[in-house]
């Protein structure tokens, strides 16, 4: 019994305290009502009645606050409820539109931009101002995608991230993981230019695997020829049309010549661009929130065999032909 009285008295004390708090923050217009309610609480006979009285008071306080807030919202920005009484005579110094109008209009604009179409538009336009270079948020998005793909053992998404990420080490790890999960994806070994816009050919062991799995494709040999020493080829053309002596230098590199011969003799040429394109399309279709910067930078960094090597080898052949012609053989 004594425990119950104690509990009741605690509840009554709490109710009084709550009403006291409400009265302290009561809106000016109806504050006398709040003060009257607080004064009358001591007249209650039991703890239950005290709690009921306090609850009624708090309800009245809430209505009063909401009504005040609505009135405040109907006023223009910068004005307060007390301004109505003390407003100076003369021309209006406040905006014409109410806060409700401003809030509704701003909310509608925010809603438009939050729609999937709006988000895509913002992402695309933002990416265009960065010339479709990946931002930090794009890198985080790709990392998230890779983590999820790793959990789900989704080889194609891993391959997509490997081809799209700007981090060469991460790309290497993801490429190997994707091919490990799905050996059909071996083509990604020859599809990533690791340091776009400069040329950095794929790893030698990857190219060896690519040649083994796709022996009829010229691209695997061309990339391997590029990997030998791409910078060796370029100075020839930087000085203008190369001379016969320079072709002889190229011809003397038997490894390079053998690879180029195999490439020129291979029955097929496929730089896997279409597969890369298809893979990008599939993942983008699944992940519609992907930034176009990710899509574009991934496709842009697709490895294409060195064109200088192709020219050089053709030139070597023409030089051989002219040499034979001169000799009359």
């Amino acid at each position: 019994m004594s425990v119950s009285i104690q509990a009741n008295s605690t509840a009554a004390r709490l109710a009084r305290w709550l009403l006291g708090c409400a009265v302290r923050h009561w809106p000016e217009e109806t504050r006398p009502w709040g003060l009257a309610l607080a004064a009358e609480i001591d007249e209650t006979a039991s703890a239950f009645e005290t709690v009921r009285w306090s609850l009624g008071g708090i309800m009245l306080f809430t209505r009063s606050v909401l009504s005040g807030a609505w009135k405040w919202m109907k006023l223009p920005a910068g004005s307060s409820l007390s301004d109505g009484v003390n407003r100076p005579k003369g021309p209006s110094l406040l905006p014409k539109r109410s806060r409700v109008f401003t809030t509704v209009v701003l909310g509608a604009a925010a809603l438009l931009l939050a729609l999937p179409e709006g988000r895509e538009a913002i992402l695309t336009v933002r990416a265009s101002w960065q010339e479709y270079q990946q931002s930090d948020s794009d890198a985080r998005k790709l990392e998230g995608l890779a983590d999820r793909a790793e959990k789900e053992k989704d080889a194609s998404t891993l391959a997509f991230v490997a081809l799209s990420t700007g981090d060469p080490k991460r790309a290497e790890a993801l490429t190997e993981r994707a091919v490990e999960l799905d050996p059909q994806l071996v083509w990604i070994y020859g599809s990533k230019n690791r340091s776009w816009p400069n040329f950095d050919s794929p790893k030698a062991e990857w190219l060896a695997q690519l040649q083994a799995s796709d022996p009829d494709n010229a691209v695997a040999y061309l990339l391997a020829a590029d990997a030998l020493d791409p910078l060796r080829i370029r100075p020839f053309y930087r000085r203008g049309i190369p001379k016969d002596a320079e072709f002889e230098v190229a011809e003397s590199d038997s490894k390079w010549m053998a690879l180029m011969e195999r490439a020129y003799g291979a029955p097929r040429y496929d730089s896997y661009f279409q597969r890369h394109y298809q893979l990008t399309r599939t993942v983008w279709n699944r992940e519609k929130n992907l930034s176009p910067a990710i899509v574009f930078s991934g496709l842009r960094s697709h490895a294409i065999p060195s064109l200088a090597n192709l020219y050089l080898f053709a030139d070597v052949k023409y030089t051989r032909h002219r040499r034979r012609e001169r000799r009359g053989t």
Binding site: E120, T124, A218, Y264, R281
Partner: protein, 232 residues
């Protein structure tokens, strides 16, 4: 003779295979260029040997390669060119409305915050600032809403192009379908970051400063003349 023919034939055949199997436009162009050069050498060879029939056949092939080459050059196909130009125009609209949305959003935020956070200070400031804040709070949200709507509507062609690319189920994809809209959006950012824009801005700034200097000098001269004409 046979050996020379076969050497050139190898390059030509490789070019044909490369053109058939490549996905990127640049690869096709290089492939045709290789074939074209090999065929030219072959034509010269046949001509020197007096093999007119073979020479005619190779010359015909060179003409075919030339035609394919021209067709693939940027801007050759009028439909492609028109499409790229449309995307460039629409890209300008998207960028324009996007910029307007950002400016209107900032103006609305600044106007409303100035009025709400420092209502008394704002009332005491010069009329032009007060009027500016009120105008921003009154009209900037509406401008923002209209600009956002226009931004989304002008972005629709780009969204459709992306959707088309994502939904395509054909195996041979047209890279221009994706590249054109993306390049179209780069027009304004590239211009604003380019040399031409910097030159225009500095020209305007130089002309404005020169005009200001001239105005100050002329005004000073007249003021001095007036002072001299009216001695104390």
């Amino acid at each position: 003779m046979k050996r020379a023919e076969s050497l050139l034939g190898e390059v030509d055949a490789f070019g044909i295979r490369m053109a058939d199997g490549s996905g990127a436009k640049i690869e096709k162009l290089i492939a045709w260029w290789l074939s074209h050069r090999a065929d030219k050498e072959l034509a010269g060879l046949y001509s020197s040997w007096g093999k007119t029939e073979e020479e005619r056949r190779v010359t015909l092939r060179i003409e075919q390669i030339d035609a394919s080459f021209r067709a693939l050059r940027p801007g050759h196909d009028s439909t492609d060119r028109a499409r790229a130009q449309t995307f460039r125009r629409e890209g300008m609209l998207v960028q324009g409305f996007g910029t307007l949305s950002v400016l209107a959003g900032l103006a609305a935020l600044a106007g409303v915050l100035m009025l709400e956070l420092w209502p008394h200070k704002i009332r005491d400031t010069k009329t032009i600032w007060r009027r500016g804040a009120c105008l921003a709070a009154d009209y900037a949200p509406a401008v923002l809403l209209v600009a956002c709507g226009a931004f989304l509507v002008s972005f629709l062609p780009f969204q459709r192009a992306f959707e088309e690319y994502r939904a395509a189920n054909y195996s041979l994809l047209n890279e221009e379908g994706l590249i054109d809209p993306m390049w179209g959006l780069l027009e304004i950012p590239r211009y604003l970051r380019g040399v031409n824009f910097a030159v225009s801005v500095w020209t305007i700034v130089t002309i404005a400063l020169s005009a200001l200097l001239l105005f100050v000098l002329v005004r000073g001269f007249y003021w001095m003349r007036g002072t001299v004409a009216k001695p104390a």
